[in-house]
């Protein structure tokens, strides 16, 4: 039957078309433009490597990429710690399924507002004359406002952790819920301590969730530009911000080259994560 042979293709067609139109085509365009030439107001079709050369040979690029990686590593570590903790509590310490769902929904409440609002609301809180500094000073804990709280790396990491922790909680919570409780009982019967159960049973079984959460956080932080700009007061650079600057100056080919490099880097990171953990096993 011809129809039965075509059927799988027809079933796959909608997704293929959507991905082709909204993923492959834009990326192909970006790759193409990254080889074009430009002056201060126009871009011309061409095939030059200057955009890549200028990007890769500039020490600013390296410093910016290192800075972005620094944010990524710190934010990943903190969100993993906090996310795992919250998910563990929800999965193992809350007994009733209803309560678990209620508390999980509570975690998502901040996400009912826009992430720009959530980020900007830190600014009056952390500022020199902000709530935190004023409270600390009234309590007599400090005499000088703490300047490092705002427009600093601290502020950037804090805002990112706030914005992205839920992306860690959700997949980890999901895998923890699937762990067969009998395994934990068996471990306990075999004489394992609580810590041994955690490291030998729970964490290995939670790896796929950790990997998925890590992919979310790493890609989000690597591509971020608005958090870095607002929370560092424009004093720090990130790759996304560098691209935004280039676009504002109409240097589209340079921004495209940067985007391609960032894409390759993020794909490598994701590949490394997938190499360590086989997420398909659990899905």
């Amino acid at each position: 039957m011809t129809l039965s042979r075509i059927a799988p293709y027809l079933q796959a067609a909608p997704l293929t078309l959507i991905l082709a139109a909204f993923l492959v085509l834009p990326i192909a365009t970006i790759v193409m433009v990254s080889f074009w030439d430009y002056d201060s107001i126009q871009i011309f079709p061409d095939f030059v490597f200057t955009n890549y050369e200028e990007t890769i040979t500039s020490p600013v690029t390296w410093r910016t990429y290192l800075n972005t990686l620094k944010y990524t590593v710190i934010v990943w570590a903190v969100t993993l710690l906090v996310g795992f903790w919250v998910a563990y509590y929800l999965a193992f310490h809350i007994r009733s399924a209803t309560m678990q769902m209620v508390l999980f929904l509570v975690c998502t409440i901040p996400f009912l507002t826009s992430n720009i609002i959530r980020m900007i609301s830190w600014i009056p809180f952390l500022g020199r004359n902000g709530l935190l500094n004023q409270s600390l000073m009234t309590m007599g804990l400090i005499d000088q406002p703490l300047e490092f709280l705002l427009f600093s790396d601290f502020a950037v990491v804090l805002a990112m952790v706030h914005l992205y922790t839920l992306f860690m909680v959700t997949p980890i919570f999901n895998t923890l819920m699937r762990i067969d409780r009998a395994l934990i009982e068996a471990a306990r019967d075999a004489g394992a301590s609580a810590f041994q159960i955690l490291t030998n049973v729970i964490i290995p079984l939670a790896k796929p969730g950790i990997a998925i959460g890590s992919i979310f956080v790493v890609t989000l932080v690597m591509g971020d530009f608005i958090t870095v700009r607002f929370m560092s007061g424009g004093q720090s650079a990130s790759v996304g911000l560098m691209m935004a600057n280039q676009i504002a100056l109409l240097q589209y080919p340079a921004a495209a080259a940067n985007a391609v490099i960032l894409l390759v880097l993020v794909l490598l990171l994701v590949a490394a994560i997938l190499r360590i953990v086989n997420i398909r096993k659990e899905l």
Partner: protein
Amino acid sequence: MSKKTTDRTGASGAKGVSRRGLLKGAAALGGLAVGGQAVTGFPTVWAQNPITLRQFGTGVSNLNAIAEKCKADLGITLQMTALDSDAVSQRVVTQANSFDIADIEYWICKKVFAAGTLQPMDVAKIKYYDQIVPIFTTGKLTPESKIAQGTAPNTVSFVDGPDSKKFAPAPTQWMTLIPTIYNADTLGIRPDLVGRPIKNWKDILDPAFKGKTSILNIPSIGIMDAAMICESAGIVKYADKGNMTKAEIDITIDFLIKTKQAGQFRAFWKTFDESVNLMASGEVVIQSMWSPAVAAVRSKGIPCVYQPLEEGYRAWGGGLGIAKHLKGAQLDAAYEYINWYLSGWVGAYLNRQGYYSAVLSTAEKNMTPDEWAFWMLGQPAKTDILSPEGKVMYTAGAVRDGGSFKERMGAVACWNSVMDEDRYMVRRWNEFIAA
């Protein structure tokens, strides 16, 4: 984010009608009626045969009130689009048919006029040409004044002929832009927090203000503020701040990097509201600022002064240019719109916001003597000074920062500009931000 684009339509008379139909109708009836019941002294011909002009430009002068008044006085519908300066330059060059009137800054004009998408205007058709402030024609505010550095408007105001793309050194019959709005910028300070008189640009480097200063992170403007600071501090003496050599750019940026790493700056701002918040919250006490931002801080009841400095001001100015493709009735309408723009109502509106308008004599007639004395002559206000929307901006007795028009525009040290080494400057600027 600064990349926000808004489309504003002043009056929506002819929105659904196709452009082609509009043009045809306009051409057919164009010569028919002149005069009519001219309430405001302008022919009402456009009211009968609606013409739409698409104007785009930077936010400052794209004001809804102007579009509404224009519709009421002339019957011309203005469709205004506000963009940031980078998007404006790009659009003038690459989408020549997407606009009829370009409201651009003089330094953008220097960059884009050569692309040939704008047509110079015949000054014989500009009714108030003789009364335009001489900064835009001869370059000299008074016969004795010196022309400031940077892209001084007079250097890009004229071309040799109707089809020329080459700027003429002296006034000719063909003008590239009709000036609309201009001002002199300086540093804003919090007088209650600086604790000492501020006199020079270099005062922003005072160790007492460590971690309490900011400059703006828009490379083409930020570099000029940086240049004013460096020259004031004696770091370097520029041949032309508006057109630095590579070596001068290097010295300036290296100095900025050193200052940044020493922790002198609290933040860099990119948008108007960021600068207002930095100042209002007390995060910074001295920074680059634009005059409406100072007014915004003050309107919160927080003291803020637009401090005049010994080295002078960094000035900027914009004007209206006509797209190359305009002809016939639409071109006539464009000229009529520009003549109306200079005829006083708009000028008064802009002056009341603290900017300056191109033809002062007509604006004066549209302002009260007290308003004129306050804004233009630098005298203490006799009554409360209201914004164009009717909000109290200054109470009786207040004096404008920097004083009179002559004192402020007479002390311009340099104009916003575009440098020959633009691309190099931007690259180094990004290095400064990433450092």
